[in-house]
Structure formats: C-alpha cells, structure tokens
Symmetry: C2
Subunit: 227 residues, 2 copies
DNA sequence: TGATAATTTGACCGGTTGGTAAAAACATAC
DNA sequence: GTATGTTTTTACCAACCGGTCAAATTATCA
C-alpha cells in the first residue's frame, strides 16, 4: 500500500520519508531532500520561521506541496533539520581555534574564516540570526548545552594566552562576541552595508576591505602609533 | 455617519484614523495610537513583519482587532509608522558625533551611547534587524537616501581625524559598521549572549563588561603592550 | 512481463489571517 | 432632551496556510 502515515506509531524519526521500509535512502530521496533543504534555507532565511510558507518552499524546490510533505512531515521538521545541520558547520571555525598555535595567528585566522563564511554562506547566517532574534525557541538547548560548552572551552584557551602575555588582558567571552558580531554583520545586514557603501565599494571588494579593517581593529585598535 | 472607508478616494494618508474631520487628534486618539505602536513593537520585533498577526498586536494593546484597525488601516501602516519613527531616534547618536570634539572621546561616547540603546531599547534594535534580514523591503529608500547621506558625512569627519593623526588610519565606513555590529549584537543576539555567559555574568552586568571590553578593543586592540 | 514498493498529484479540510460592514455605544454641543 | 460626530463591538468573509487523503503514476526488480 502507498504511504503509511496516519500515526501508525512507528518511525517517529525526523527527516525520514514515509518509505522507511528499505532502510537506506535512494538516490532520488537524497537528491530531493537536498533540493528541499536548499529551497527552505532560501525561504526561511529571509522570512523567518513563521513568515515562511510550505507553498513558498515547495515552489522554490520545484515540486508540489504534498510531494514536499512526503519527504518532511512538517514545516518544523524541515526547519529543525536545517538548523541543526547548520549549527554544526557554523561552529567549525571556533572548534579549529588551536590552543597550541600562535595566539595572534589563531585569532586572525578565526576572524578570516568567519568572514569568509559570511561571504559564502549568507543565507545560513541569516537563518541563524532570524532564530536568535525570535529568542531561539528551536535551539535553546543547543545554546546552553553544546554551544556554551564550546565557548567556555575556547574562552579558557584565550585566558591562558592572556596569562602568558601573548595577547592583551580582556574578557574572552566579549572578544568572541565581538568577532561574531563584526563578521556576521556583513551577511545579516548586507542590504545596509551595500546601500551605505554605494556603487563604488559595494562589490565583492567589500569583504577584502572588511578583512583588512577587522585585522587592524582587533590587533592594533584605533589609537595612532606615537611615532 | 460612522466611518468612511470603502475607497471614497479621500485622505490616502497613513496613520490618520477615519476621523479626520476635526483635523487634530483627541487625547484618546493620541493615547490609543501610542498603545498600539508599543504593542506592535513588541510583536513585530520578535516575529518579524510576516510572522506577526494583527490579533496578537490587538491583544497586546488590550483592544479588539476591528478597534485597532480603526486607528491604523492596515498591518503595514502600523509597521511603517513604527519603522519610520524608529529610524529617526536610531540615528541620533551618530548625528551627535561632533567634528569639533576630541576624536577619541567622540568615538568612545558614540560606542557608549549605542550600547546604552541596545540595553534600553532592545525591541527597537530587533525590529530594525528583522527588517534588514528580510532585505529592508520597507525602508530601502531611507537606506540609500538619508542614512547613506548621514554616514557619508560622518565618514568624512572620521577621515579628517585620520588626516590630522588623531586616530589610526582605517576605513571609516567599516569602522562605523563595526561599532553598529558590536553594540547591536547585545540586543539582537541577547538570548545567545545570556546563554553563553550563563548565570554568573548574564545579569545587567554584561553591559558594563561589554562597554569595558569594547572601549579597549576599539582603542588599544588585542596586541599586548611591549612593557 | 507483472508484482511490488516508491513517488507524485489533485482534491480537500479545519483553522487562521487580514480586513470589512453595519450597527451599537459613547461623548459632546446645543 | 436631541442632533452630531467618535469610538467600540458583533458578526462576518474571502484568501491563505499547514496538513491529510486516496488515487494515479512511476521506478525497481524478479
């Protein structure tokens, strides 16, 4: 028989389509799910969870609404899948911050990588920002759990660098916040950045300018050198 | 007769209630409109434009939906009114940046004032952020018009300070972006900030810590002093 | 080929949403 | 009081939205 929804009680998984008989997904499943998630990223990231509609996502994915709902049972299932798979890659750069490396080089490359993510994955950044603005109702646990744990760990690394005199004394948490804020700004507030910069520097060059500026800001600050 | 909607063609104004006969608004109009705007700020700022419903706003304002629609003809009218009145106060601190003042003190106090706004008016900040995330469909013109003009003007001020050796050589536009990003982060990403800081420092003390950190970051950077 | 399972579609449903119509309630001036 | 204008309520609607259902279509493989 076709499909087995209707609360049969089994497979309360998540992104698994009705067809959980042959346990592994076919090529076509894999591909369709990916297309859905890509479309959903587009729609969710610019409208937020409540503002997005399944019809919008379905149309962006080039399929009918019931067809989409065959792969993901609910709108929320799509959203959660997206958010979770994103959170992982989103924290990669911070994970890569190496306690054994050269402090200044490590922070410098962290800033650079975060900025590259804003350039290359602005939708992901905006999705995340949208979720935050709404009070993170879907990922509160991740925030106080894995994310906090990771930040705590890296804050400790930074503190040790401070103790060794490798970087200036400062609050490591607010340092991390500042890096997040300044880099993600170029994805989340892209319209504003482009509007303000105008025709001249609004091209891709703005990311290079930003990188140059941020490296200077974070390491030298604004005070002029007393020559 | 009661009301005059129905496309009579007249008064295509905006926030003006049906009662545009006696040209000035009564005390009760003034008060109700304010209550609506306050409620709308609450709802819009945490759900975005599409995610917010008139019913939600009406309930938060303590009145029925049709009653609310008597003061503002459409959901969009409420939103636009809110956004415009907000944009003005939002740019006040930047307007106050004084070319004649001491450069370092001016920038320092700009950062402080922006941070205070994040602390005291987080809803306004989030409303603005929401609009930006969605590509600023309602205020595109303000962005490329008045806002760009103001930023251009202040960027020129900063450039002159650089020329006089008062602050380090840097891109004034990206400096302004960095100040916006770091300060607004504490309003827009409040959940994340609190989750990461945990019980200990998540109280109001976080704004003082942030202020201290940002002042150091912007003026001294992270490089340790060569004692 | 035919049996079987996977995928897609069109029609539909109950609830919500933005907004309207009309009349009732209230205030005010005379 | 009554006439006039303002504010509020009750009832309502058409469009939309998340999701379901049953049937039709297509892929898979013995």
């Amino acid at each position: 028989m076709a499909g087995d929804r209707g609360g049969t009680g089994g497979s309360e998984g998540m992104a698994v389509p009705r067809a959980a008989k042959t346990q592994r997904r076919t090529r076509i499943q894999e591909e369709k799910e990916e297309r859905i998630l890509d479309a959903a990223l587009e729609v969710f990231s610019s409208n937020g969870f409540r503002g997005a509609t399944i019809d919008q996502i379905a149309e962006a994915a080039g399929m009918s609404k019931p067809n989409l709902l065959y792969y993901f049972r609910t709108k929320e299932a799509i959203y959660r899948t997206l958010l979770e798979s994103m959170l992982f890659t989103w924290l990669e750069p911070l994970k890569a911050l190496d306690a054994e490396g050269d402090p200044e080089a490590e922070i410098r490359s962290y800033i650079r990588r975060k900025l590259e993510m804003s350039r290359d994955f602005p939708r992901e950044s905006r999705l995340f920002a949208n979720e935050m603005l709404q009070g993170a109702p879907h990922i509160e646990d991740d925030l106080t759990g894995p994310l906090k744990a990771l930040v705590d760990e890296k804050a400790e690394v930074i503190r040790s660098w401070i103790k060794n005199g490798k970087i200036a004394r400062c609050d490591p948490y607010h340092l991390i916040f500042a890096i997040w804020a300044t880099t993600q700004h170029y994805a989340d507030f892209d319209v504003q950045v482009c509007a303000v910069l105008g025709e001249n520097r609004a091209g891709e060059g703005r990311f290079e300018d930003a990188a140059r500026f941020l490296e200077q800001l974070f390491f030298e600050g604004l005070r002029p050198k007393k020559a």
